[in-house]
Structure formats: structure tokens, C-alpha cells
């Protein structure tokens, strides 16, 4: 992996790994049990500038390339996917705003998001509508005052909802998909924490309810009609990149914890690591890790190069890395035996967290449907290229 990175990217990757080892790994188990990340830990993330990783310098962010952003997510994902989820969501809302916000909206929100003064949340999913955006029931209607809107509806499974200060909320305005920023303190906006998830417990998921919430015209992002086709996809793209890299980090955690354990643990006179069945599991983890990291790099690099295929590459990376993380986490628990089944071992948390990676930002099955279409379209393209040109 290191060989495809620039010297600067490698240097930052080492910095991110040090940060994770010092400020995340020792506390991740406690956060998981408490089902929340304390404000002091988020403040640490802010001070390091990581919440503004992809936000341009002119708005107070770090202006890093997407490869560096991916490395940050991988390094933190190694220790805690829930904590990394804060980075995921901050990038989702920030990049959607950067692309589709007005000058005033960018100036108003991006510096605060970059400095971590405000945590964002991406409110797309509903109790009865996940990947099927057409099933969304959240509604905006015109307030009749200065182009403002009134919002009614309900969202569920919203990461960082418990601690976010501003929410990018999606719904329909007269059947036109629309996105608006909704501050936490808005009248009629109710936030209910969701507890006891399988994994990702510290990511602050929440259920949101909007009862006649007044939205000023200045908070509409993009234009009505384009929220599902243009605004949400920017955020979801960064969400997939972040989640793919975080899953690759979780996979690395499984491999490192497993090899450390297997090299130290004895079975009679033999090390566990010398058992063929264990070596098979470790070999699969190691090969999957290499593949996942390279797929993540490829997706990030394509985004840095602003290539149209960056979207499909992010799908591929997330599809592969999240499934590989699930496989690796299962193997890691198996290698640890009973020790891996207790919460004192990080692999127990990895096992629970890995499954979430396969669900968020589109399930594996949603990825298969879209990637299946894309790969068939590639074949059609190749076939057309072989055909003689149509007569004029």
C-alpha cells in the first residue's frame, strides 16, 4: 500500500496512525459500552483538523486530497469504526455543501464544520425508506413567507444525530426532491437517541421528527428537484469512500490483533500461528487487506482526478472492503477463541462493527444491483466499439 502513496501521504498516514493509537484505541471499548463518544474526544478530532480534512483551505479546512482523507479514515477505522463515523458524516454534509451551496451558505457553514464547532448529520433514511428514495415521505411545503418552507416528517438511523448541530434533511417539495439545512435548535424538531445497536454504538444514531419546522429560504441546498439526483449523491459518494476506508482499517485491526495473538498463544508446544487452519484464515485476511486498501486508494485517486468512474470505484471499494471486514472479523474471533468472545478483546467489537459496514451507505445487495448494471453497461460499450460505424 505504502508504495502507491506519495511521501507526504505516507507521512500523514503515520501521523494518523499515531493519533489513533494515542487517542482512539485506548478508549474505544469504553465509548462502545457508554454508547457515545464524549465531547472531549470530538474536540481532539477538531483540534487535529481532521473534521475539515476535505474542506478547502479558504474555508478553514485542511484541503487534503481524497487519498489522504481515505488514509485518515483507514487509520482511525483500525481502532474504532463508530468514532470514524463522525468523520464520515462530517465529510458527507461538508462536500454536499461545498458542491451545491451558495456562496453565503458555504461561508456560513463550512468554516464551522471545518473547525468542528458544528457537527453535521445527513438525514436521508426514513423508517420506511432506505435506499428506495422514491418511498420517502418527508414533506416540505411553501410557508408563503420569503420563499421559506415548512418541514414535516420523520428520519431514522441517522448517524451523529445525537450530537449534530445541523442536519442536511431530504424530502419532497410538491413532488420535487429537495434538501435543506435544519439547525438542531429549530422549533418543532425532536431528536430521539437510538440505543443498543449491534455495533457502531458510539456513532450517536438518532431518530428525528419534524413537526411544522420553519425553514428559511437561505437554508435550501441546491434547487428543488435535484436533491436525489445531485445533492445526496455527492454526500453519499464521500460516505462510501469513508466507509470503505474505515472498513479496510477494521480489517487491518482484525489481522494485526489475530497475528499478535496467534504468534503469542501456545497450544501445547506449538504456537497457534503454526496451525494450518489458522494460517489459512490469516492468509485470507492479509490478501483481503491488500486488495481492500488498493481498491480504496483507486477510488480516492479517481476522485482526486475528478474522473466519472470515481463513483463506481467507490461502490467497488465499499462493496469489497465491508464484506472482507465481516469475513476477517469472524476469523479474528475464531482465532482468539473464547478470549475473542469477551468485550475485553477489541475483536469482539470489530465483529459487531463489521456488519454495520455492510449496511451503511447502501447495503451489499444495493451495491450488487448497481454494480451489476455498471459492469453489464461496460460490456455493451465494448460490444459497440467492435461494431462497424452506422451508415450516415
Amino acid at each position: 500500500m505504502q508504495t502507491v502513496l506519495t511521501a507526504e501521504q505516507n507521512r500523514r498516514y503515520a501521523e494518523f496512525q499515531e493519533f489513533a493509537a494515542a487517542h482512539v484505541a485506548p478508549f474505544a471499548g469504553d465509548w462502545d459500552r457508554a454508547q457515545q463518544v464524549p465531547p472531549s474526544a470530538i474536540a481532539q478530532l477538531s483540534r487535529a483538523g481532521y473534521l475539515g480534512a476535505t474542506i478547502p483551505l479558504q474555508f478553514g479546512g485542511r484541503g487534503w486530497d481524497v487519498v489522504t482523507f481515505g488514509l485518515l479514515n483507514e487509520a482511525l477505522g483500525r481502532s474504532d469504526s463508530a468514532f470514524t463515523g463522525i468523520l464520515t458524516v462530517q465529510a458527507m454534509i461538508s462536500m454536499a455543501l461545498l458542491k451545491w451551496g451558495t456562496g453565503d451558505q458555504r461561508s456560513r457553514w463550512l468554516p464551522a464544520l471545518a473547525r468542528g464547532e458544528v457537527i453535521g448529520a445527513f438525514a436521508l433514511t426514513e423508517p420506511e425508506a432506505g435506499s428506495d428514495l422514491q418511498a420517502m415521505t418527508t414533506q416540505f411545503r411553501r410557508s408563503g413567507r420569503d420563499g421559506g418552507l415548512i418541514l414535516n416528517g420523520e428520519k431514522k438511523w441517522i448517524s451523529c444525530g445525537q450530537m449534530a448541530g445541523v442536519f442536511l434533511v431530504f424530502g419532497n417539495l410538491e413532488q420535487e426532491p429537495t434538501a435543506c439545512l435544519v439547525p438542531r435548535e429549530s422549533d418543532g424538531f425532536e431528536i430521539e437517541p437510538i440505543q443498543d445497536l449491534l455495533g457502531f454504538r458510539a456513532a450517536g444514531l438518532a431518530r428525528l421528527r419534524f413537526h411544522d419546522v420553519a425553514i428559511p429560504a437561505a437554508n435550501i441546498i441546491g434547487k428543488p428537484g435535484f436533491a436525489f439526483s445531485h445533492v445526496a449523491p455527492v454526500g453519499l459518494h464521500y460516505g462510501r469512500i469513508s466507509t470503505a476506508c474505515s472498513a479496510a482499517g477494521l480489517l487491518r485491526g482484525c489481522l494485526e490483533e489475530s497475528t499478535d495473538y496467534a504468534a503469542a498463544r501456545k497450544l501445547g508446544a506449538q504456537r497457534v500461528a503454526d496451525l494450518g487452519m489458522i494460517q489459512s484464515m490469516i492468509a485470507r485476511m492479509g490478501a483481503d487487506l491488500d486488495a481492500a486498501q488498493l481498491l480504496c486508494w483507486s477510488a480516492c485517486r479517481a476522485e482526486d482526478d475528478h474522473l466519472p468512474e470515481a463513483l463506481t470505484k467507490a461502490f467497488v471499494a465499499k462493496y469489497f472492503a465491508s464484506q472482507a471486514a465481516v469475513r476477517a472479523a469472524g476469523s479474528a474471533v475464531q482465532i482468539h477463541g473464547a478470549a475473542g468472545c469477551h468485550e475485553s478483546s477489541p475483536v469482539a467489537r470489530f465483529y459487531r462493527g463489521a456488519k454495520i459496514m455492510e449496511i451503511i451507505e447502501g447495503t451489499t445487495q444495493v451495491h450488487e444491483r448497481i454494480l451489476g448494471q455498471c459492469f453489464v453497461q461496460d460490456a455493451v460499450k465494448r460490444q459497440r466499439a467492435r461494431l462497424p460505424p452506422m451508415p450516415p
Partner: protein, 87 residues
């Protein structure tokens, strides 16, 4: 590309779009967003393609279905953004 010749711009856009649709013959004025012609990634991929290929930026003010609904309308939009600037 070395010019902003309208026919050349249109040809480049037609080439990209034709490879993204799942029908064999696409008319220049055919509506791309009619059900089933393109997949859910297409709108973003088209935007990224024209931004990169022609060195333009699509922003909030450009979000009009008229700008992207067909080969012809996308080419017209790109040429308007270029405003005579060589590409």
C-alpha cells in the same frame, strides 16, 4: 480538444452519453431521464465528465433539467458555459 467548435463539443458529449445508456440508438434530442435509459449514477457521472473534459464547473445556478436532459441540451449548456473560450 483545441477548439470550442459546437459540432466537436456535441460529438464528445454524444460519445460519453451513448456509452452510458442502455439503448442502441439514441437521438440527440431524446430525453435521457425517461425511465430505464440511464442508471442512478448517470447524472453525477455526466456532470463530472463535462466538468473535467471542458474545464467548467457546474454549480447550484446550473441545476436546471433543461441543461442536461439530452445530448443537444447538454452540448448547448457546455457551449454557453464556455462562452467562446477555447477548450
Amino acid at each position: 480538444m483545441s477548439t470550442n467548435d459546437p459540432s466537436q463539443v456535441k460529438e464528445v458529449i454524444r460519445g460519453f452519453i451513448a456509452n452510458s445508456v442502455n439503448i442502441d440508438a439514441l437521438g440527440d434530442d431524446e430525453n435521457l431521464f425517461e425511465s430505464g435509459i440511464v442508471n442512478s449514477l448517470f447524472a453525477m457521472q455526466l456532470m463530472t465528465f463535462i466538468e473535467r473534459k471542458f474545464g467548467i464547473e457546474v454549480g447550484m445556478d446550473d441545476l436546471e433539467i433543461e441543461n442536461f436532459k439530452s445530448v443537444s441540451s447538454t452540448a448547448a449548456f457546455v457551449l454557453k458555459k464556455l462562452g467562446g473560450r477555447p477548450v
